[in-house]
């Protein structure tokens, strides 16, 4: 479905953020991209829809080569690639509905989008997506009136409004609490499964990646140093990605965190029952 071939990005400052990455993502697969800050995760996914212009290498999405397209053709291809952002990146002063409909911008004329007269099918789809992410009642609110978790749901609905063939997800849980993070990750994986959508998810939180993502790619200094299942992600593999650290202690902390969440949920349920 998506093929990266020798992808390289060198910034003007001389930093090689992405270094000869070759990667293949089949239809319906969600890939977690982990690695230390500055490893090039963000640059890598931005190269795919060319928000960042790759220096070398090839990107093909379902047979169409994305590198080397002119501006108009690039916009047509961007429609096929939905993107979900860290800190949501909603247009704060627009309504939730406008944010979701902005996913259709690549399909409508400037005049249609300027007058906010989207085709009826687009509007129906936007409502359906808001219903899917559980925000049907919030359509007319301004985006900045929502909580973090709700905003990220709008971000997901916006990406899906594009009717994408690929999702790029950049740190979707970076500013969310552990519980909301898990809800968002669950929603993402469910949606990808429903639509057989491939996705690349940049993620900081190794525990979260392990819990939700069937395939994990580790990036270090712009290069792929790990590609496997969560079970393959041993201490040795983690050290290869992040450098030396007490991984055992991290895992114990994770377990405690999980237990705490479970306890808290149990306590809440008990209260509801009582």
């Amino acid at each position: 479905m998506l093929d990266l071939n020798g992808l390289t990005k060198t910034y003007k400052t001389g930093d090689r953020a992405v270094n000869d990455v070759s990667l293949s993502v089949p239809k319906g697969q969600i890939v977690g991209l982990i690695g230390p800050s500055g490893a090039g995760k963000s640059s890598l996914i931005r190269c795919i829809n060319r928000l960042v212009e790759p220096t070398a290498g090839r990107i093909t999405l379902a047979g169409t080569e994305l590198t080397g397209l002119g501006p108009r053709a690039l916009r047509r291809q961007r429609r096929r690639i939905g993107m979900i952002f860290q800190e949501y990146a909603l247009v704060e002063r627009l309504t939730v509905m406008e944010n979701v409909l902005s996913g259709r911008l690549g399909y409508v004329s400037f005049w249609q989008s300027f007058t906010r007269r989207f085709p009826p099918a687009d509007i129906a789809r936007a409502y359906a997506l808001l219903d899917r992410v559980g925000l049907l009642d919030h359509a007319d609110k301004r985006a900045d009136a929502l909580s973090g978790g709700q905003r990220q749901r709008v971000g997901i609905a916006r990406a899906l409004a594009q009717d994408p063939e690929l999702l790029l997800v950049d740190e979707p849980t970076a500013s969310l609490d552990p519980k909301t993070s898990r809800q968002i990750m669950r929603l993402l994986t469910e949606i990808c499964a429903e639509r057989d959508l491939p996705a690349i998810v940049n993620i900081h939180d190794v525990a979260l990646a392990r819990q939700f993502l069937p395939r994990i790619v580790g990036l270090r200094a712009g290069q792929v140093v790990f590609d496997g299942t969560p079970a393959d992600l041993t201490d040795i593999a983690l050290t290869r990605i992040y450098g030396d650290e007490d991984w055992d202690a991290m895992r114990r902390a994770e377990a405690e965190d999980e237990a705490e969440t479970r306890e808290a949920l149990a306590a809440r349920d008990a209260m509801v029952l009582a």
Binding site: R75, A89, V91, R93, S102, L105, G106, S113, F114
Partner: protein, 267 residues
């Protein structure tokens, strides 16, 4: 244990590291200031003589005469207010494309250079000078004033709008661009919502500046209340001049209060 650490601390000099150099510069500046004051050529006899005239001016203020020149005053006011509103609307309308063009994060380099130079020219030339130029070109009257204020508005609004656009949240722009939106759609969906409150606030503020400026440029012949004011001062009718100034102050205060209220409401 604690005795081992110093008990005195002085703030290290921040701008000029060398204390002696800093002292020398301070002294030099003080000497320059005194020398500059000394070169001011004051004719004390003329000052004494001027007191009586100034006093008559102040007396006029204290007994403002609104009635005897009311027709001239009201005509001047209407002219000024018309000039203010039309020039602000036209100026802002022209400023928007120039402001967008002058934002480094949206415009290609050559467009950026052109728009920034338009802004620089508009800001560099003082209103009075532009007014004199337009009066020479189109004759006395409010049309020259309208052109002057429109021109001045462009430099003001376009610069501040461009600066605001350069400061906007790139993530929102990137997100809209990632949907496959075209350039105009990115402006409409990601840029406009972010800068609109400030643009409206600035436009209202400029309306209030343009009214004040209309009083000044009238003195060089560009019509409006300034022309009325100039005439009454020329005729030594300080009581009418006082009335005009009071009206200007009242309108500026109303505009000031109204614009600050509106800007607060827009946040």
């Amino acid at each position: 244990m604690t005795a081992a650490y110093p008990t005195r601390w002085r703030r290290p000099p921040q701008i000029i590291r060398n204390r002696r150099l800093a002292r020398a510069l301070q002294l030099g500046f003080a000497l320059w200031f005194i020398a500059a004051l000394a070169t001011l050529d004051l004719d004390w006899a003329r000052v004494a003589e001027g007191w009586s005239r100034a006093l008559r001016f102040v007396e006029g203020f204290l007994q403002p005469d609104f009635t005897s020149r009311w027709r001239d005053i009201s005509r001047g006011l209407v002219e000024s207010l018309t000039m203010t509103l039309t020039s602000t609307v036209v100026g802002v309308a022209i400023s928007i494309p120039i402001g967008i063009g002058a934002a480094r994060n949206l415009a290609p380099r050559w467009i950026y250079a052109i728009c920034r130079s338009i802004i620089a020219v508009s800001r560099a030339v003082q209103e009075i000078i532009i007014a004199i130029f337009f009066v020479a070109m189109f004759g006395f009257g409010p049309f020259a004033g309208f052109l002057t204020l429109s021109f001045a508005t462009i430099g003001f609004i376009a610069k501040l709008l461009a600066d605001d656009i350069e400061d906007l949240d790139e993530a929102q722009v990137e997100a809209v661009r990632a949907t496959g939106a075209g350039w105009m759609q990115v402006i409409n969906y990601a840029v406009q919502p972010q800068v609109m409150p400030r643009l409206i606030g600035l436009s209202v503020y400029r309306l209030d500046i343009n009214f004040r400026e209309s009083a000044v440029i009238g003195i060089v012949g560009a019509g409006g209340i300034g022309a009325t004011l100039n005439t009454s001062i020329d005729r030594y009718e300080y009581d009418s001049a006082g009335a005009i100034l009071l009206i200007i102050i009242a309108i500026v205060m109303v505009a000031e209060y109204g614009s600050s209220y509106l800007r607060k409401f827009l946040q």
